[in-house]
């Protein structure tokens, strides 16, 4: 292949200034009068080093980052001007191999769903096809739908939205319903603050998601698929619209797809900014054009969903795993993970780690690998205090439990959850009471108000936490907080309320001493809360 210059221009790349780098490269190439393709790609995942620029001819590749427009001349000089490598430019080199095995952040990962993110132009169907795109669909369409379901069951793929329900079993329930039509929904309403797995996948490789949905539609017998995407992700919406248009031209949507007899169409629905719409019944109400409030289950969507018809709802990552499962086989996928769950999971590794970004690892990988080897520990050499998983529905895993394996059951034992993939690392300058209060502020704000335990309970919990962070709390308040947590997590209508106490419960479990310092001594050990400064305040 001829020489190519790749630049990551996802939301994260653009926020880091990639647009300026693209124009600097174009101007520089014009000046040199060299014909080189400049390719805008999605994100490789190494967001902390963005803007990322890769010069490659397929055999050799050099990855640079973070690149400023003023570095461009130096970099292009080395490749196209015959200039000697300069020190400043060399310090930007992250990898010298096309497979990036010499770049620790990427080398420790196993990329399945994000394999082509940062490698292909997400707006080009041809590039997806050149990398095996829609081969899995062609293969699946030659099989009986029951066979596809059996393969997905054998792969031990479980719902990547966080709950971990086996995907194949879910498809089977929807398949077996007599009612028709059946609907398929892709939940891309990535509402957890601190999560961007779905955004990266959609912005970087949108056709993979469409292919996964088409295979799911074949398996369950669905005729219409809704893509429910956050409106806060304009680039992702644009990438999907473009991909859906291309899919129609290519003939993988519409009537009698590839001669299989299947009819299917995609509908893109932009979410309107409501966290509760990540809950499946609320999401369906939102698609129906109503307020996104949840309903009692059962009936489950598989039985009675959109407008009362059988509806299968899957997360982006679950669906994006499907093409690889079909092409590489269920046993390969299962072998990547643990006994109970197969495959890989993507995490948005953020917080105070040195290297942050999108990380995809096999299930069963210890948390420590992500935090210490991929993330390279905390900035400023501070000790890791905890890892927060699953956002406002999740919990904190303390540093001493970093050897916990990433698996649905193992994580649940710690009190945290797998969640959808948000992973925020905090150091000793974070006050865990304030951290819990932060999440409660969010859930209280996002509670839809339909059921009392969540509407009133989260409000009361927030009030107690605020009182504690202002130095007005007592031991009795701690007891009251625990009772409130029990009530809210027992009696709420949907997942939002049922999981809202998790950030409080896990911090109480592992960092109760911090709560006690707040109420007994009136001090915030981390020095964050607006009370009297504590002697233990670390220097800022």
């Amino acid at each position: 292949m001829s020489t190519l210059i790749r630049i990551g221009t996802s939301t994260c790349g653009l926020a880091a200034g990639a647009e300026g780098v693209v124009s600097a490269i174009r101007t520089d190439l014009d000046r040199r009068q060299v014909e080189v393709t400049v390719q805008r790609t999605g994100c490789l995942g190494a967001c902390h080093n963005e803007p990322l620029v890769e010069v490659t001819d397929g055999e050799k590749a050099v990855l640079y980052g973070p690149v400023d427009p003023e570095h461009v001349d130096l970099i292009l000089d080395r490749h196209f001007g015959g200039g000697a490598a300069q020190e400043q430019e060399l310090s930007l080199i992250l990898s010298r191999r096309p497979d990036h095995t010499d770049f620790p952040f990427l080398a420790r990962q196993t990329k399945v769903t994000t394999r082509l993110c940062g490698v292909i132009d997400p707006l080009s169907l041809d590039e997806y096809l050149a990398n095996g795109g829609y081969m899995a669909l062609r293969e699946a369409l030659t099989m009986a739908p029951e066979r596809v379901i059996a393969i997905v069951k054998d792969s031990r793929l479980r719902g990547r939205g966080g709950a971990g329900f086996p995907t194949g079993a879910k498809w089977e329930i929807t398949r077996k319903q007599a009612a028709s039509p059946k609907f398929l929904i892709c939940n891309a309403d990535e509402g957890d603050p601190g999560a961007f797995m779905n955004r990266t996948m959609i912005e970087g490789d949108p056709h993979r998601l469409l292919e996964g949905m088409l295979i799911a539609a074949w398996a369950i017998g669905a005729s219409k698929g809704y893509l429910y995407v956050r409106a806060e992700y304009p680039l992702a919406v644009e990438a999907l619209r473009n991909a859906v248009g291309q899919a129609a031209e290519y003939g993988v949507t519409g009537k009698n797809i590839l001669g299989s007899g299947m009819d299917f169409e995609f509908v893109i629905k932009e979410g309107a900014g409501a966290f509760v719409c990540g809950e499946e019944t609320a999401l369906m109400h939102s698609i129906e054009g109503l307020r996104g409030t949840p309903s009692m289950r059962p009936p489950y969507p598989s039985v009675s969903g959109l407008w009362g018809f059988p509806t299968n709802i899957n997360n982006v990552e679950s669906l994006a795993s499907i093409p690889s499962i079909i092409l590489q086989g269920p046993s390969w996928f299962a072998s990547l993970g643990t006994e109970q769950s197969g495959g890989t999971k993507a995490f948005a590794l953020t917080g105070v780690v040195r290297a942050s970004g999108l990380v995809e690892v096999p299930l069963g990988t210890p948390l420590r690998i992500l935090v210490e080897e991929i993330g390279r520990g905390c900035k400023n050499d501070r000790p890791v205090k905890a890892v927060q998983l699953g956002g406002p529905s999740g919990g904190c895993v303390p540093a001493e439990l970093l050897d916990t394996r990433i698996d649905y059951e193992d994580l649940r034992r710690t009190g945290a959850i797998m969640g959808s993939g948000g992973m925020v690392v905090v150091d000793d300058t974070t006050c865990m009471v304030d951290f819990a209060r932060y999440f409660l502020t969010f859930t209280q704000d996002e509670s839809c108000g339909k059921c009392v335990p969540c509407r009133v309970g989260t409000r009361k919990m927030l009030a107690v936490l605020t009182k504690i962070t202002q130095g007005q709390g007592t031991r009795a308040d701690l007891e009251r907080l625990k009772r409130l947590c029990e009530t809210v997590r027992t009696a709420s209508l949907c997942g939002l309320g049922l999981t809202a106490p998790n950030p409080v419960l896990t911090t109480l479990r592992y960092f109760e001493q911090e709560y006690i310092s707040h109420v007994d001594a009136g001090t915030c050990p981390a020095g964050i809360c607006s009370m009297r400064p504590s002697a233990a305040t670390p220097d800022a």
Partner: protein
């Protein structure tokens, strides 16, 4: 087309002294026509109206009710439920500071306080000159570059309170000459 008669049972507003006696403006009508008869389109319609007006003014919402047959109570129910909808006009520049988890632990609150103090407005307020509206946003998904600020469609990463104010000043500098040219 006869707009006085409706096949839709919900649509029965046609009273004396109708404040909406005039037909809707053509560009609004174009939006409404595209979704006529689609019972699930209300959120999409409101999103398009907001894209057109930058917020949801009262009169277009009344037209949505009359033309598409949704009760106003339902329309306002939707408009106040979802975070993207605004019922008041924003400033020319919508400054949104991310308060996602990664931004929170990287102290985005100090950036909000700084901007709030410098601009002389609190969250969800607009400066008297109509230039800036300050808001927070749940998460824009650029967590690796936390803390993050978004001005209209442009996202800025790796912010500090001072850097964020610098961007506002840059916007102001671009505004200045244009204002003079207009005079």
């Amino acid at each position: 087309m006869d707009r006085g008669v409706s096949s839709n049972p919900i649509r029965r507003y046609n009273y004396q002294g109708d404040p909406l006696a005039e037909p809707p403006p053509a560009d609004l009508m174009e939006i409404l026509d595209r979704y006529r008869g689609e019972r699930d389109a209300l959120i999409t319609v409101l999103e398009e109206i907001q894209a057109r007006y930058r917020y949801l003014p009262a009169k277009p919402l009344q037209f949505v009710s009359r033309e598409l047959g949704f009760p106003l109570s339902l329309i306002y129910g939707i408009a106040t439920f979802y975070n993207v909808f605004r019922l008041t006009a924003p400033g020319r520049y919508l400054v949104r500071v991310c308060k996602g988890t990664a931004c929170h632990v990287n102290r985005s609150s100090t950036m909000i306080e700084h901007l709030s103090e410098k601009l002389g407005i609190t969250e969800d307020e607009t400066t008297p000159d109509g230039l800036f509206t300050l808001q927070t946003v749940a998460c824009v998904g650029a967590c690796s570059l936390a803390p993050v600020m978004v001005v209209n469609e442009q996202t800025y990463g790796r912010m500090t309170p001072d850097l964020s104010w610098g961007i506002i000043l840059k916007v102001l500098a671009q505004e200045g000459p244009r204002d003079q040219a207009e005079q």
